[in-house]
């Protein structure tokens, strides 16, 4: 009797397993199709931010003394964990600006930046940025952030996510203080320019 019950129950269960397998296969098919019909993926936010960071040296003039010698590299420092690190690593190989190599320097949370020319303060480090920026305001470092109040805290450039694009916001007063000259080309594409001199 028990055996009978077992056998009779076996077939609906088996059919459920088949149904399950079909569902799984259907799911797989949809995944497959979605991938194949998807257009070329758009770049990620951090690919674009990395592109900005490695391009800024072309549009910025530092006081001569920040470079130890003519061939000294341009140091881009990234403070805190950020996806931008890997993206920068991918594009700096062999890249030069005015004959200077570009070097990436990673800084742990709260670490002093030391010698660098561009400093990216990741969103994760946002809470430390007012402190840090106050400390760095006279150093000739192009500070770049990605938070709403970065410019108010004394940062020079903010890479702001605006809908689907990355907008450039510049604080000229802070740049002046750091004795960094920003080219008009960069300013012309910035969506916000604060502390503009007449």
């Amino acid at each position: 009797m028990a055996v009978l019950t077992r056998i009779s129950r076996r077939s609906p269960r088996a059919s459920r397993v088949v149904l399950c397998a079909l569902l799984v296969m259907a799911a797989g098919w949809i995944v497959g199709t979605s991938v194949s019909i998807a257009e070329e993926p758009l770049p990620t936010e951090y690919q674009v931010k990395a592109a900005f960071l490695v391009n800024f040296p072309k549009y910025v003039d530092w006081p001569a003394e920040v470079f130890a010698e003519t061939g000294s590299p341009i140091v881009i420092a990234v403070l805190g964990e950020s996806k931008v690190i890997e993206e920068i690593q991918k594009v700096i190989a062999g890249r030069t600006v005015n004959g200077r190599q570009i070097v990436l320097k990673r800084l742990a949370s709260g670490e002093e930046p030391g010698v660098c020319h561009v400093l990216f303060v990741s969103a994760a480090e946002q809470q430390h940025s007012p402190d840090l920026l106050a400390k760095l305001k006279d150093a000739s470092i192009l500070t770049v952030g990605e938070s709403d109040d970065f410019l108010e805290s004394g940062g020079i450039i903010n890479l702001a996510r605006r809908d689907q694009k990355i907008a450039l916001e510049v604080n000229l007063a802070a740049a002046d203080k750091a004795r960094i000259k920003i080219s008009s080309k960069l300013l012309s594409v910035a969506s916000v320019v604060k502390g503009k001199s007449k």
Binding site: T44, A134, A173, D176, K198
Partner: protein, 714 residues
Amino acid sequence: MKGNDGGRHAASEFDRRQGAELEAKQVFDQHVKAEKAARHYRSAPLMKTNSPIGRIDSGVGNWFNQSRKTAAFAGLMLLVAGAVWATDGGPVSTNSVADLSLEDLVNLKVTSVSRKEEKLDDAAAAIFVLGNDDIRRSGATTVADALRLVPGLQVAAIDSSDWAISARGFNSQFATKLLVMIDGRSVYSPLFSGVYWDAQQVFLDDVDRIEVIRGPGATIWGANAVDGVISILSKSTRDTQGGLVYGGGGDEHLALGGARYGGQIDEDTYYRVYGMYQLNNDFPLADGQSADDRWDLEQAGYRVDHYTHSDGQLTWQADAYAGNLADNTGDMNGFNTLGRWSRTISDRSSYEVQAYLDHTYRNDSLAVISLDTADFAFQHTFGLGERNDVIWGLGYRFTDTRFQKVNIPGTTILNNNIPLNLFSAFIQDEFKIVPDKLTFTLGTKIEHNDFDGFDVQPSARLMFKPAENQSVWAAVSRAVRTPSESFAKELGTFALGAPVVGPGGGLYEPTLFPNTQLKSEVLLAYELGYRIQPTHRVSVDVATFYNNYSRLVGDQPGAFIPGTPVGTLEVDPENSLRGQSYGGEAVVTVAATDFWRLTASYSLLLLYAQGEPATDAKSLELNAPTHQAVLRSSYDFTRHASLDAQLRYVDGVQSVPSYVTADVRLSYRPTPNWELAVVGQNLLDDRHPEQASTFGAPTVDVPRGFYGKITWRF
């Protein structure tokens, strides 16, 4: 030149002001950050197919074991397959982006990685989010205690290791109508229809947030998400790099210790490993004697995240724990492993595949049970035209419950092994009637289980934003609670209490018999909510509800079966009760100054039940506090020291009177890497009861306690 000087002057003035306000600013930023974290939540559910009860099979056998393995294997295979597919989509050449001009860069569209994150203000549901900072500042050492901060949740300690937690009523140790998930893995036990809170611990410093929905979430999450859903989400390993070690102890939390280390395997792959231990002291009984409920738990686990260049993320995590219960008279252990592959295909389209295995063993004063679960889920989101966003998914879950022993006298096990299958599918469309103003969401979940076949759980939600700082929402939804296996399955008969005098003057022991005809309990919920942020320092969130329950389970006395020395009074669970509840929750958050934040919340709950037996109906009415209020203050003296306090009022429940109590936490951070904290819990009286035991055991009191904790990050 003059202009330049002027600019400089203004700048230095600006900088000076900033300098003076620096400390304040830093402290405020922390608040803002916490606030921001709290204001975002994942609206599109990630693999939240979590109804733990599925199909019932009375057959036992080897076949079943095979089926379990097959299910697990199929899930894992699919995961791998998903991964293989997804890596096909080639990344955009990073170099080509870096070679674009500035002009092109500012005009370049990027993928929306935060696509699924929606502002809290836009959610057409009563949702509250506890951020990492909130949890740390609460001084809670367990997930259950951290939930005391959530407005509208009822959290009551039954003893040192058991909690009754629910939303909007029906609270007991087996709060049947609340679904709980940790990183997408359901921890709701189908056997008793509830959650063993002592076994649900996470490394609290690595928790990103705890999302709590009051009200039904069944359209997405499935059965048992009747009165609420709690989702505990840990941080990605990318956000927990480096080391963290903590240690401490006190008179109630005798010992606390843990360590985590996060590192990188290669440039796209991150990991973390952790281990932790806690030992908690006995609580007292009303007469001051020990309740002998001391317990401990040791747990370890890891998580690995791999990011692809095409917005894909592969996650693999596992945890294992073991602990002693009730002063070493009971024990528990378990392990789980979960894999998830998610990928954003385009701006509005993404998919996710998830599979997990979970093993739970528990030997306590009630029973020795083990539960194995294999779960697979798939989910796909896509845009349909300009205004429709569709999300749909499929799920399968297999659970195997083994009843090894029952420790309640007078109990017979009829069947000690119960395999269950659950199939589910859901679809939901979000239609923007007027973009940014008016959104209508309609969806349903369809599940199949063997208790009552198909369950349909639809919901309709409307969100209206009259202004940027205000929103009004309304919802109508249906949700079901599948009866627990022990009731609906021919599992055994359970002695309910002392013998009663029956016909002819003989003694009869009331015994609960299974009822395989039991149907799911049904809720029809009507909700209305309003949120406003009158200034940037104040936010107000009000949610109201009217719930109509039908087919609630009551225990009907049946036949008297003679026997020696005592007969048996058959008690049958039946869908013989119905109920209505209404009430609401209001939360006001005020950032009074840059370094002081206050949160006040009040919840009201009125519940009425009718049907047979009348005593059960009455008991349901008394199962939740009518009034609850929480006042919470977070104050930063400097950026090195902070003081947090919470004051809680909870109305009477059953035989337990109302109480007021307070927790205080003082924290000192001499450097960013070190934190010293002193915490006082339940400070306003020596001890008080919070919830009576479900099984007639003496009520245990919750005592005042203190502990200290040191945390080091490196």
